[in-house]
């Protein structure tokens, strides 16, 4: 359930929604973090639902002492009105038995809010790629027919690679089995895509093959890839890195070490 942070409900008409799928290495979530902190997006509401494991913390994007003490919840919506951009950040895992309910909740919210398109940032297990997926870039996309209608040229221009359908039983040649969409480790990605196809929602999935570990470089790769399409930042390729790492990314590898150790 979407709950507005202000007294009036925000208007998402003609906005583009970017949201992560909680997936391998949390790449999508990290990429969304980069967008919120770099574009100084403001929080407009919460996604308050029993489908997500509760967590709370102080401001993950704090820049000065004054804005440190601000409570943040596991799923929040941010906007940058001048860019007509909204993002949904998810900070906690989705309860497995409720993932279907969560997808339905998202789809109905997206429909009701009037977003022009939705982009899901996701990732998939690198080790489960098949032979054709191993070659070239690790970035892939999938779009629903509804989005494809208006974006054929744009996608052609970008020269992106569509996610290859894989054989359900590799090695067996059976004429009756159709290649299928397979996103291992992608969480709700595939379900959300198929739901959106059924509901005729314009939705694109951008994903990256990766493994767990320090996934910060993956997050930059994915967010730069998204930027090639949405042009959120001006030509980031000229400057090496325009994205701002939020304060909450500190101490990724644990606390300081005891000085008595040496």
């Amino acid at each position: 359930m979407f709950v507005s942070a202000q007294n009036s409900a925000p208007c998402f008409k003609d906005f583009t929604l970017v949201m992560p799928a909680v997936a391998v290495g949390n790449v999508g979530q990290l990429a969304v973090d980069l967008m919120v902190s770099t574009l100084n997006m403001s929080r407009v509401g919460y996604m308050h639902t029993d489908c997500i494991i509760p967590m709370a913390g102080n401001n993950p994007y704090a820049t000065c002492k004054e804005d440190v003490e601000e409570l943040h919840t596991p799923a929040e919506v941010y906007t940058a009105a001048e860019l007509k951009l909204a993002v949904l950040q998810i900070r906690a895992p989705i309860i497995q038995t409720k993932s279907k309910k969560f997808r339905q909740l998202l789809v109905s919210w997206i429909k009701a809010s009037g977003f022009t398109r939705t982009v899901v940032l996701s990732s998939s297990h690198a080790y489960q790629r098949d032979d054709q997926q191993l070659q070239g870039t690790p970035l892939r996309y999938v779009v629903t027919p509804s989005l494809l209608k208006g974006s054929v040229d744009a996608l052609k221009e970008l020269g992106w690679r569509e996610l290859e359908r894989v054989a359900p039983f590799p090695g067996l040649t059976d004429a009756n089995t159709e290649p299928r969409l397979y996103i291992p480790g992608g969480g709700i990605t595939k379900g959300l895509y198929t739901d959106s196809c059924a509901e005729d929602l314009p939705l694109a999935v951008l994903l990256l093959f990766c493994s767990e570990g320090d996934n910060i470089p993956d997050a930059f790769t994915l967010v730069n890839h998204l930027n090639d399409w949405l042009h959120l930042l001006d030509t980031p390729s000229q400057k090496p890195n325009q994205w701002k790492i939020p304060t909450s990314w500190s101490l990724l590898f644990g606390s300081g070490i005891p000085p008595a150790l040496f």
């Binding site: 919460y46 509760p54 709370a56 990605t189």
Partner: protein, 278 residues
């Protein structure tokens, strides 16, 4: 995940579960088992006849202060310093069943109890020492807050945590633990009695569920998280919560120095559990 020795560990891989294609194809029997499990995992609140009567008639619990203690140290702190004075009534309890509940024993009633002050019924205390599973946290919070009057409600949560979970750039020396950190909802206007919880530290569990609920519904709430280096009950850790409650001094009486008998009663039972030096 169960280990060789049979204890249940939560899996902390960040990789997510496989997509639920199999779930779609499950047969009727699976579905029934799933449904029954879901029903069994439901959180139930049991109020005293007097309270449930008034809830039934549509009037919620008039409550100005709701004090929630999560964990053994926080709960025992309230037992020792607050609930020892005789004027508290147990008005209800919540029963929660999950994978960590002791099978068949109906002891859950002692692990999540609500108390109300006799002469000032607007203060409600809840002690939670049982494990509330991840999928039950939201439900617990919704059900409890559904019974409370939201206007002018102040929520204070005392919550146990281990210092191993605390992240800081400087090394945390053992001498600094236990210490308190606070986190409050946007509607909370007071001054917390300790430092704010620094990023990238987060709060999880019941205290997070309560904070989320209060933030979204604009209820004033503050969580005091105590980071301790002692496993089990410990009087020093319990003392750490003292400043958090002195703020509420006008509504509840804090016994500043409980008799050693009272302390002993609560602290002793932890010693029995260790079989290291029998």
């Amino acid at each position: 995940m169960a280990t060789f020795f049979g204890e249940v560990l939560s899996v902390c891989s960040r990789a997510v579960e496989e997509d639920d294609e199999d779930l779609l194809e499950e047969n009727e029997e699976d579905e029934q088992i799933r449904r029954e499990l879901e029903e069994k995992r439901e959180v139930h609140l049991h109020w005293s006849p007097e309270v449930s009567e008034s809830l039934k008639s549509g009037s919620k619990l008039q409550c100005s202060d709701f004090i929630l203690a999560v964990g053994h140290n926080a709960s025992r702190f309230l037992s020792v310093h607050v609930l020892t004075s005789a004027n508290w009534d147990a008005v209800g309890h919540a029963s929660v069943w999950n994978e960590r509940s002791r099978a068949a024993t109906g002891q859950t009633s002692e692990e999540c109890v609500f108390y109300r002050q006799k002469d000032n019924p607007s203060v409600l205390i809840c002690q939670v020492t049982c494990y509330v599973a991840e999928d039950q946290l939201f439900q617990w919070t919704e059900k409890v807050f559904d019974c409370l009057q939201h206007r002018e409600l102040n929520v204070t949560v005392l919550s146990d945590s281990t210092v191993a979970e605390y992240k800081t750039a400087d090394y945390v020396s053992c001498s600094s633990a236990p210490f308190l950190r606070s986190l409050h909802s946007g509607a909370f206007t007071g001054q917390p009695v300790c430092k704010a919880l620094e990023q990238p530290n987060i709060v999880t569990g019941l205290s997070a569920a309560v904070l989320n609920h209060c933030e979204v519904h604009r209820i004033a709430a503050v969580v005091y998280q105590c980071y301790s280096d002692v496993i089990g009950l410990d009087s020093v850790t319990m003392e750490t919560y003292k400043p958090a409650l002195t703020k509420l001094g006008k509504s509840i009486q804090l016994d500043p120095s409980p008799s050693t008998d009272v302390l002993r009663k609560f602290v002793r039972n932890t010693n029995i559990q260790s079989n290291l030096y029998i």
